[in-house]
Structures are given as structure tokens and as C-alpha cells.
């Protein structure tokens, strides 16, 4: 078993290295993008091997769904923006300063590897205070405990980072007229309609399920929100959501819901405790669920808008179809 695991891990590592190498060194944009997407898949297997299913879940939702769509849309934008109809554009001069960079990176890689192996070879225990806090907490999953309780700020910052990135994108979009991308092609109802009809309820239910099991098993607000965001991206890609050049009020509310709840809760917490973000005694579970739920909605809305790179979206009426 252990020899088997060793071979498995070594193969995973080699695969990661080869994929990374090809992704940064292959000349074409499209080839690199696909290689990077596969890199994400292998990364998910690696998290699974390292016994970190939380990360595997996040990586799966992000690299299988969102990053791929994002990077492929970037390929499309590269074609549209340059008006280059013939080929996915390669760079003008693909590689420069190859030898000095290779020398520096080889040296750095060697030093880093040696240091990392030595650091990782030392066993370290979980600090006792942390271990005790984790084991005596009413919520079971230690990662969730960390996310919700010991470092509530962490989740707040996560959603804030997403929101900030979206605000940045929105500011950029106001600065300039980017060329409009071609309208989505896959609007034909033939195969995509049944897919969406099935995928929508399944994704919604799975997101809720992941959210709920996140209390005692890996999962939780971010993973569930990422799934919902992927659903939104799917709707945008197939033309069911259409871009707007303003942000509708409902979407603004969705964007701010999670951070807003967090902030209100932090202030309210000062009435029953001297610390912001402290849960009321006896209602920890309920408060945590309420906050996580609003965070999930905000994460979903922010991811959809961020990945569609538009200030706003609205549902298109699909009522009358022309055969």
C-alpha cells in the first residue's frame, strides 16, 4: 500500500510539473489555457490525496467550472479585440531572456525544494489551545469551526476580496468601451435547453446540500456559492442572462448582502459581548447558519458578475422561439 501510494504521489507530482511546464512554455494561447485547466483537475486529485477534501471541493468548483469558462472567454476576447480572425493570436516574441531566467529559476527551485523537504520533515503538533478549541466546539468539522468561529474575519475577507475584484472590474468597464464580444452561439435550444432544464434544479439542490453538510463535513458557504456562481456563468454563456451596462438594485443587494450581514452582526455582537463577531451564547449554530447563508448568496452573485465581466445581468425572455 505504501509503495503504491508513493508511486501514485510521484506520478501526480510529475504530472503537475509537466502540465505547468507546458502551460507556461507552449506558444499558443488556447493550448496553454487547456493545459492549465487540466492542471486544475490534477490539483484536485492532489488535494484528495493529501486528505484535504475541503480544498478538493473548492478546486473542483473553481477549476472544473469557473476558471475554464473564464480563460476560454479570454481566448474569445483576444480574438474579438484584436480583430484577428485567422488564428488565436500568439505573442509577438514568445520568449525572451530565456537563459538567465532558466538559471535563476533552477537555482531557486533547488533551494526551495531542499528547504521545503527539510521543513516538512519536522513533525509539528497542533498548538494545544487550538486543538482544544476545535474539539470542544459544537460544530463538528474543524475547517468549518475555523472558518466560522476562530477566524470569522477570514470569511469576511474572502467575500470582500471577491467584491473588491468585481468593483475593480466595474470601474475599468466604466473607463473604456471594450469591443462587444459576439453574442453567444449556443443559444440554439436543441441540446442546451434540456441541459439547463436538468442542471438548474440539480445544481441548486446540490448547492444547498453542500451548504448544509458543510456544518459537519467538508463543504460550506464558499463551495456552495461557487456552484451557484457556476450556474450563473452557465446561464450567461448560453445567452439566458444578458449583459447590462448598469447594476440593477436587486444585484446590488445581492452583492452587499453577505458583507452587510457580517458587519451588522459584528456591531450587534458588541451588545452581548465585548468582542465584535462573537456569537451569542446558546445560539451559535443558528447565527452561523444565517450568516453563512447570506455569504453564499453574495459569493454566488459576485462570482457570476465577476466572471461575466459585466456591470450587471438580466434574464432574457425566452418566451417566443423561432424554429
Amino acid at each position: 500500500m505504501s509503495l503504491l501510494s508513493l508511486i501514485f504521489d510521484a506520478l501526480l507530482g510529475l504530472g503537475l510539473l509537466w502540465l505547468a511546464w507546458r502551460a507556461v512554455s507552449s506558444p499558443g494561447l488556447f493550448a496553454s489555457v487547456v493545459l492549465f485547466m487540466v492542471f486544475g483537475f490534477v490539483m484536485a486529485i492532489t488535494w484528495a490525496r493529501l486528505g484535504a477534501p475541503d480544498l478538493a471541493l473548492a478546486e473542483a468548483a473553481i477549476s472544473a467550472g469557473l476558471t475554464g469558462a473564464l480563460l476560454l472567454s479570454a481566448c474569445k476576447a483576444a480574438l474579438t479585440d484584436t480583430g484577428n480572425d485567422n488564428e488565436l493570436p500568439d505573442e509577438p516574441s514568445t520568449v525572451r531572456r530565456r537563459w538567465p531566467a532558466a538559471l535563476i529559476c533552477t537555482g531557486l527551485g533547488a533551494v526551495l525544494s531542499i528547504v521545503m523537504i527539510q521543513v516538512a520533515a519536522n513533525r509539528a503538533a497542533v498548538p494545544p489551545a487550538l486543538a482544544e478549541a476545535v474539539t470542544t466546539h459544537p460544530l463538528d468539522n474543524p475547517i468549518t469551526v475555523m472558518l466560522l468561529d476562530l477566524r470569522g474575519y477570514d470569511t469576511l475577507l474572502e467575500v470582500t476580496v471577491l467584491l473588491t475584484a468585481f468593483l475593480g472590474v466595474r470601474i475599468l468597464l466604466e473607463q473604456t468601451e471594450l469591443p462587444r464580444l459576439h453574442a453567444p452561439r449556443a443559444t440554439t435550444p436543441l441540446m442546451v435547453d434540456p441541459l439547463l432544464a436538468m442542471a438548474t434544479p440539480v445544481l441548486l439542490m446540490t448547492a444547498l446540500y453542500l451548504f448544509w453538510t458543510g456544518m459537519e463535513a467538508p463543504g460550506g458557504a464558499f463551495q456552495a456559492g461557487a456552484l451557484l456562481g457556476a450556474l450563473g456563468v452557465m446561464y450567461t454563456l448560453t445567452g439566458r442572462f444578458e449583459p447590462l451596462d448598469r447594476t440593477p438594485v436587486l444585484l446590488r443587494l445581492g452583492l452587499i448582502l453577505g458583507p452587510g450581514m457580517f458587519a451588522i452582526f459584528a456591531c450587534l455582537a458588541l451588545t452581548w459581548s465585548e468582542w465584535p463577531l462573537a456569537y451569542p451564547a446558546g445560539a451559535t449554530g443558528a447565527a452561523a447558519v444565517a450568516i453563512e447563508f447570506t455569504l453564499m448568496i453574495s459569493i454566488a452573485v459576485t462570482l457570476t458578475l465577476l466572471f461575466s465581466a459585466t456591470p450587471g445581468l438580466h434574464a432574457r425572455h425566452m418566451g417566443v422561439r423561432h424554429p
Partner: protein
């Protein structure tokens, strides 16, 4: 866990590969991929660090940090891609402007 050696070696080399991509490529999307690979290397190393504490289960702190890190790197990528489109709309190409065509050691780097 047997993977510690293999994965810490991988993490070190991955970081170097990502950096190599960022230093040598001129295309900005390729550079963004390089930055993402560097981030993945850091995440990998943090998780390896968290699994080595096996007496009382894995140490949750690095894993939570990596979860946040994944969110940050995805936000960075999304923002970066829009920034690249913006640059392309301004200058007509997706590379950083350079002062001289050859032999300038410092310009055009992130």
C-alpha cells in the same frame, strides 16, 4: 504520509516553473497563468505542512488559509483578464510596453 517528500519537491519546482513563465513570456495571459501556478505551489506547500501534524489530526489553520488563497487567486485572475482586455483596447496588444526593443534589463516586468 508518504506523499510529503514527493509533494514538497513538487511544490518547490512548481514555484520555479511559474516564475520562469512570468519572467520569460511576454504575453500577459501566459504570465497570469504563471502567477497562478506559483500560487498553486504555495498552496501545495502549506497543505503539506498541515498534513504533517498527524497526532491530533491535520492542522486546520493552513488549510483555511489556502481556501482563502484560492479565492484570492481566482479574483486576481478574473480582474487581471479584464485588465488585459483594457490594455489591449488601449494599445492594441496584450504585452506590456517596453522602452527599448532589445537588451533592457528592467522594464516590462511585474
Amino acid at each position: 504520509m508518504s506523499g510529503i517528500l514527493a509533494f514538497s519537491l513538487t511544490a518547490g519546482l512548481l514555484f520555479a516553473l511559474g516564475l520562469y513563465g512570468m519572467l520569460t513570456r511576454t504575453g500577459l495571459i501566459h504570465r497570469l497563468l504563471g502567477a497562478n501556478i506559483m500560487a498553486a505551489a504555495v498552496f501545495l506547500f502549506l497543505v503539506v505542512l498541515s498534513t504533517r501534524a498527524t497526532e491530533a489530526g491535520a492542522d486546520p489553520v493552513p488549510e483555511v488559509m489556502v481556501l482563502t488563497g484560492i479565492v484570492i487567486s481566482i479574483s486576481l485572475t478574473a480582474f487581471g483578464l479584464v485588465l488585459i482586455r483594457y490594455l489591449r483596447a488601449m494599445t492594441g496588444q496584450a504585452t506590456l510596453p517596453r522602452s527599448g526593443r532589445e537588451g533592457d534589463g528592467h522594464s516590462g516586468d511585474d
